[in-house]
């Protein structure tokens, strides 16, 4: 094939190099996508990003699992937290009722108490009956011995934002009437309050980890972008729209994040297996399955966000000269 030049001094014949150099046997082969495009490069930077994001997501998953376990552990307490105050009765019905009402009023006035209920005598008997094995109405000698000694009972339900010293305040108010507080129940309330605070901390930790993860992914993807800065710059020199420049990196970030999420989810299983016996002892049921979708989607979202941050930073750096 001849290619004429526009110069008239000579009309050169272009010598095509018919004998192309032998194609190297070592020439790189990459799987091709439809349309002739090859997969984006997956080198050291991508592996590093995958590992880092996977660790970050795994940590978040771990926090979520902890949150789930603690929720399951304290679930029964959270539903109906209450403790009881017992008052020795004199046997005179009217006087006892007046004392109980007065004590109820006093307890109700304690800061952090949501409600106080005087437990009817029949309800106490039923409870006692159940406690004894549910063999039926207490009768005979047992009734003669137990029923007169049943104390008057008040049920105290603390407010959700009840103060730290509610137990002590209730105990002081009860003591003024010669009544006593069920210490075991009160301690459980305090533990529940502690768990609730711990859960808030876990939520906060998860949020912080999530944000840290976005920054980690952003920086990691930025590392990838720096390695491919030529590609970005070339696309811009060819007149590419910003979305055209961003889209491949957003997709790559999203895919990388999702893949890291999947890996992180898989890595949660060995941990669950290790602490499985302990969880059974605590009667806590933890589901890792429900974490699959959040980790996948969360990873993809964080990946896209990170890539967006990285490309935006790169965009601002590249357009300084313009």
């Amino acid at each position: 094939m001849s290619v004429p030049t526009n110069g008239c001094r000579m009309n050169r014949r272009v010598e095509r190099r018919g004998a192309q150099p032998e194609r190297s046997q070592q020439e790189r082969q990459m799987p091709r996508l439809p349309g002739g495009f090859s997969l984006p490069p997956f080198g050291l930077h991508q592996w590093l990003a995958l590992v880092i994001v996977c660790i970050a997501l795994w940590a978040v998953g771990l926090l979520w699992l902890g949150l789930q376990a603690s929720s399951a552990w304290t679930q029964s307490w959270q539903k109906d937290v209450r403790f009881h105050v017992y008052l020795e009765l004199s046997g005179k019905k009217q006087t006892d009722n007046e004392r109980l009402e007065a004590l109820a009023g006093k307890l109700q006035a304690v800061s952090g108490v949501a409600a106080v209920r005087v437990v009817p005598q029949q309800e106490s008997r039923d409870w006692l009956n159940d406690w004894l094995g549910g063999s039926g109405e207490i009768t005979g000698e047992m009734a003669d011995e137990l029923l007169p000694s049943l104390p008057g009972t008040l049920e105290v339900r603390p407010a959700t934002d009840g103060g730290e010293f509610i137990y002590q305040d209730v105990a002081d108010a009860a003591a003024a009437f010669g009544a006593s507080v069920n210490r075991g129940e009160a301690h459980l309330v305090q533990v529940q309050r502690l768990m609730s605070q711990l859960q808030s901390l876990l939520w906060f930790g998860t949020l912080v980890m999530g944000l840290a993860m976005v920054i980690i992914i952003s920086n990691t993807l930025r590392m990838i972008l720096l390695a491919r800065a030529d590609e970005v710059q070339l696309m811009r020199l060819l007149g590419a729209d910003e979305w055209f420049v961003h889209l491949p990196f957003l997709l790559e970030g999203g895919l990388l994040g999702a893949l890291a999420g999947l890996l992180a989810w898989l890595l949660l299983w060995p941990l669950l297996w290790v602490v499985g016996d302990w969880l059974i002892q605590l009667n806590v049921d933890v589901s890792v399955l429900i974490l699959l979708l959040p980790l996948l989607l969360g990873g993809a979202l964080a990946g896209c966000l990170g890539a967006l941050l990285a490309t935006m930073r790169m965009a601002s750096e590249n357009t300084v000269a313009l």
Binding site: V3, G7, R9, G36, E231
Partner: protein, 249 residues
Amino acid sequence: MFADAYMTRAMRLVTVRRMIEMRRLMLRYPTGKTALSGMTMNIEKGCFAYLTGESGAGKSSLLRCLYGGVRPSSGKLTVQGVDLRKVGSRQLRRLRRDIGIIFQDHRLLFSRTVFENVALPLRVQGWKPDRLVARAEKVLEFVGLKDRLWSFPEALSGGEQQRVAIARAMSSKPSLILADEPTGNLDIDTARHVMDYLMELNRQGSTVVMATHDLHLLETHPGDIFRLHAGALTEELHYVRADERMPHE
């Protein structure tokens, strides 16, 4: 009255014929270095223009201005009627799509195949994927590399890589091709081949502006010469083809 109308029409015709127009163009980098100082020149459509001069004369800086890589500090610069001092990003993108750029270091994407490199300008312009392979094959056939469509640039020689860069620059049929020392890293024989391809592109209608300090090429591949020195135009030689020459010349 008639004269005014005639002059306006004549000016319009002149503007239409001009690919690049610059008046007292200045470029000062943020570092304080003055790369171009008051350059005035016009490049007509369809011509093959050489920018020559020593290193640091301002050839590459001028090319950067022409594709909007840097914004001139002062003066006037229009490319295809677009004022590059006032151009917005959208208009600049549109302009760049009609410019093919060839770099000395060819700037191929080594993680992409030859096809992907050549098809990149077409993808930027929104060509349908089913048309890309055919077009890439066609331009690669022009530079004699059709059989290397699926190779990676690393498997090609320096000359072949530069030919791929030429194929990429011509793939979208740009009306302006800017070449920054495209033969700088090549041996004489390969450089001449590259020049043949550029000349052929020019013959097909593209305006070619090429920065070079290799004056030997000008003898075998003539064109308009703009000699630069210290950021200013010192000499301008217009090449007249034999078929355009007057009989007495």
